[in-house]
Amino acid sequence: MTTATGAQEITYLEAISQALDEEMRQDPRVFLLGEDIGVYGGAFRITEGFQDKYGEWRVLDTPLSESAIVGAAIGAGMMGMRPVAEMQFADFISCAFDQLTEVAAKNHYRWGAAVPIVIRAPYGGGIHGGPFHSACPEAWFFHTPGLKIVAPATAYDAKGLLKAAIRDNNPVIYLEHKFLYRRIKEVLPEEEFVVPIGQAKVVREGQDLSLITYGAMVHVALEAAEILEREGIAMEVVDLRTLVPMDTDTILESVRKTSKVMVLHEDTKTGGVGAEIAARIAEQAFDALDGPIIRVAAPDTPVPYSPPLEAFFIPKVDDVLEAARGLAAY
């Protein structure tokens, strides 16, 4: 789609492709590896045409071996390359878990070896992928010191954070939400930009309560905020953008301003990222609180396949509205 000024709207998916392309063009150390990313262009076609442009070594089709993909990325990264590894679906990251938590995460702490790698993980539900193609894997890695995690909610952040991730000297898990791939778009600046890792963003101001969220849920939050506004409730929405390192300051600032806070995520509730956010607030801003800290999150089950089940499972605008009304009235 083209806007009135002639600028091109770019989808979330295209933003990711652009970031990869720009970084590969600028930095010969950057290369990609993963299953079916070459000739096929990736399961989601993010690297379509890349192999023609950069050759079959810089866009490397690997055997079906997630652990080797991540392990090889680590080795190449330590030798000065900037590998970007793709998990075909984030769900399969469980097969590379050990390499991530034991090798990538600990090398710098143990012996000072930087591991500048990016793991792209297409994640999240809403696409009827069922228990093995819908996972939100962030909490596992959130609890693993040595890894960074980013989770953009917009095309702008998708591009800017991926470029920052590639330039970072640490292992970064890049969570790209499959539901957003083709559903959101925006005009991006023509000039180069990077979104620094570690900075949350207040995406909507409000003074009655705060909602802390990230990923696809940012859009659910904004939709809910719009409705609440009409009911006279001004909900502030904070998009974390980066999960590790977490921008606690921005969270606490918002809480201090509104005195009431909710956390929203698509991942299951128990032990999710929301628990940590709630705990930090309860620890560091207790005095500012004027009500319980409410979490809206998926129930503690695998992601079910059948549309009515999945619809029930994934947090919805209504869930946010209900919780927000309750909290506002507290």
């Binding site: 299953e35 690997t62 079906l64 009827h128 069922g130 079910p304 396949y305 089940l309 619809a311």
Partner: protein
């Protein structure tokens, strides 16, 4: 890098010596005829047809946008899962992979259940919790497929271990794709099974591609069967499009396992005739290759042999085809009539109760 196995395959796998030292099975020989009774061959033929008709219907439903998730078929590879499943006893167990629809059907999963599963209905074996070919039912001796490829190989070894521990003569058959053999769990499972001589048979559906990845980018060996050497495991290469050959190879390996002599690895040479899933046009596969393999279609091959052996005529084939189409029609009606689950059912069943469920 090695050239893909394709060229040689085109000459008909079963008929040639192969370089790996693995036994090569002949197909359609007189010797085979003595080993496969007419009733059995016809029954396998019926299952080939049923599988084909069911998956063709799935493809149609997918194109009509009536399947919410993905759809995977075994089109052109039906002989593998029909053949191995047919060789099993009722109390044996299978741990199939995603192109084994024939095995589900042979084990008693009905086409109605399969379509209900695809449509997310409560009457599917997973009650809507899971989709497509993730069908499991311990009462029918079926361990449900897990997307994570090769994950069920150690599980299959463990099921076989249970039989060995209890002194039972039951056997487990599992299957994986050529791509799946690159995963660590493949290695750990085959190694463990071999060290402990567990009653498990490892099939490999070598359809020459893993999604878009051709065999020579998946492994440096020409025959997947070479992998078995790392475990001192006997292996066999079989024409995966010949249901009789698969059945007999499965039978040999299953009986070997039943006798306590340990696991066998069976590579079935075949070709993936559709895209990886129904959304994939598989442009990366040379058309000529598909044309070539179309001629080796397992149903055509079965019909040729049935005719040659005097087991059946064209009118028998037509009767079977009419029968399966009717079965699929009925099945679809059942699936369509079945209710969707209600949202809150999403919360059910994360944990088992204290009462043991399923079959031991």
């Amino acid at each position: 890098m090695n050239t893909p196995i394709i060229e040689r395959d085109q000459q008909g796998v079963g008929a040639v010596e192969n370089g790996s030292g693995a036994k090569a099975s002949l197909h359609g020989t007189k010797e085979d005829r003595m080993k496969i009774a007419k009733a059995d061959y016809l029954q396998m033929y019926y299952y080939l047809r049923l599988t084909r008709a069911l998956e063709d219907r799935v493809t149609v439903l997918y194109r009509q946008g009536r399947i919410a998730g993905g759809a995977y078929t075994s089109h052109g590879m039906e002989a593998i899962s029909v053949g191995y499943a047919y060789a099993l006893h009722a109390d044996d167990v299978i741990a199939p992979y995603h192109r084994d629809m024939g095995a589900y059907l042979v084990r008693g999963i009905t086409p109605g259940e399969v379509l209900a599963q695809y449509l997310g209905k409560r009457t599917g074996p997973t009650k809507g919790k899971d989709g497509n070919v993730h069908l499991g039912d311990l009462r029918r001796g079926i361990i449900a497929f897990v997307s994570h490829l090769a994950d069920n190989l150690p599980v299959a070894a463990g099921a076989a271990l249970a039989f060995k521990l209890r002194g039972e003569t039951r056997v487990v058959v599992t299957n994986t794709g050529d791509g799946g053999t690159s995963r660590g769990d493949f290695h750990e499972a085959l190694n463990f099974a071999s060290v402990r001589k567990l009653p498990v048979v490892f099939f490999c559906n070598n359809n020459q591609y893993a999604y878009s990845t051709p065999l020579h980018l998946q492994m440096a060996i020409r025959d997947v069967a070479e992998r078995a050497k790392a475990y001192a495991m006997p292996s066999e290469i079989v024409d995966g499009n010949d249901v009789g050959a698969v059945y007999l190879a499965a039978q040999r390996a299953i009986e070997r396992a039943r006798r306590g002599e340990g696991p066998t690895f069976i590579e079935c040479k075949t070709m993936r005739m559709h895209g990886h899933s129904e959304h994939d046009s598989a442009k990366y596969v040379p058309r000529a290759l598909l044309e070539e393999w179309k001629k080796k279609d397992p149903i055509l091959k079965a019909e040729r042999i049935l005719r040659e052996w005097g087991y059946a005529t064209d009118s028998d084939f037509q009767a079977v085809q009419q029968r399966v189409i009717k079965e699929i029609d009925t099945a679809l009606e059942f699936a369509e009539r079945s209710p969707l689950p209600e949202g809150p059912e999403a919360l059910d069943g994360v944990y088992a109760d204290s009462e043991r469920e399923g079959l031991a």
